[in-house]
C-alpha cells in the first residue's frame, strides 16, 4: 500500500508541485491528445485540468485551507481546499468540514500508464483531513459535493448521499470505520 505525507497549508513544496502539474498537463496533452485539449474532453484528465485552474485561482485567498499529500517520490499527489462549515442534523446545526475541491495529480488522472502513478492519494488525503480534525478536537464529519462519476468512490469509503444534489456526508461513525479499514489494509500484505 502506498504511503503519503500529509501537508497542511500552502507550502513551497505544494506551490512547486502545482507548477509541475501544469508542466505535465501540457506534456500529456502533446503526447496523448495531439496537442489539442479538445481530444481530452470527457476524460478524468480534462477534469483535472479544470480543477488545477480552479484551485490555482483560489489558492492565494485560501492558502490556510489547502490540504495535500506528497508521495514517496516527493511529488504532489493530491490537493484539496477545505472549509469549516455546518450541516443540519436532526434540526441542529453541527460543525463539519467541507472538502470544496479535490484533485489528483495529472499522472494519477490520465488513463495512460505513467511511472509517477501512485494509487491511494485521494484516500490518504481524506484520511489526513479526518485525523487532523480529530487531533484538534474538531468535528470529524466531512461534507462534499461529488460529481456523478465520483459518487461511487466516496460511497465506497463511507460517504452517504443526502438529497440527490450530489451532497455527501461522512458521519463520525463512518469516519471511524474508514480509519479502521485503512489500518487493516496497512496491516495486511494484500496490496504490497
Amino acid at each position: 500500500m502506498n504511503e503519503f505525507r500529509y501537508i497542511i497549508g500552502t507550502t513551497s513544496e505544494v506551490r512547486l508541485g502545482l507548477v509541475f502539474w501544469a508542466d505535465k498537463i501540457r506534456e500529456y496533452t502533446d503526447t496523448y491528445y495531439q496537442g489539442d485539449k479538445e481530444n481530452a474532453r470527457g476524460t478524468d484528465f480534462y477534469g483535472c485540468i479544470s480543477k488545477l485552474e480552479q484551485i490555482s485561482d483560489n489558492i492565494l485567498d485560501k492558502e490556510d485551507f489547502v490540504r495535500s499529500v506528497i508521495d514517496d517520490q516527493n511529488l504532489l499527489a493530491s490537493i484539496s481546499i477545505i472549509a469549516r462549515t455546518e450541516i443540519l442534523i436532526e434540526d441542529e446545526f453541527t460543525p463539519c468540514i467541507e472538502i470544496e475541491n479535490i484533485s489528483n495529480s495529472p499522472w494519477n488522472n490520465i488513463e495512460f500508464p505513467q511511472v509517477e502513478k501512485r494509487k491511494g492519494a485521494a484516500t490518504s488525503l481524506v484520511e489526513g483531513i479526518i485525523r487532523e480534525s480529530r487531533s484538534l478536537g474538531l468535528s470529524d464529519i466531512l461534507k462534499l459535493f461529488a460529481v456523478p462519476e465520483a459518487q461511487e468512490f466516496y460511497q465506497k469509503i463511507g460517504f452517504e448521499e443526502t438529497n440527490g444534489s450530489g451532497e455527501m456526508i461522512l458521519s463520525s461513525n463512518a469516519a471511524s470505520m474508514f480509519l479502521l479499514d485503512l489500518e487493516q489494509k496497512r496491516n495486511s500484505a494484500a496490496f504490497d
Partner: protein, 87 residues
Amino acid sequence: MSQSSKTYQPTPEQIAKWKRIDELESSCATGFLSPEEQDKNVEKFFEKDYIDSQLEKVRAHKEKLLKKLQSAEEYEQLLLKEKHNRG
C-alpha cells in the same frame, strides 16, 4: 512496516472493495462545475503559461494585501493619536 508484521487477513470482500476504491480514485472530483464552467477553466489554463498566469495573480494579491496593510497602519496611528490625546 516489514512484511512479517503484516498479520491482518482481509476478507475477499475487503480486498474487492479496496481494489475498487483504487480503480475509482481517478474520478474523485468534488465541487459542482457545469460543463461550460469546466470548458472555461480548461480554456483559461491553455491561454497562458502557468507561471506567467500565477505571477499575475500573485501580484494582484500582493497589491490587495498592501492596501489592507496600509489601512491597518493608518488605523493603528489614528488610535495611538487618540490615546495620546486622552492622556
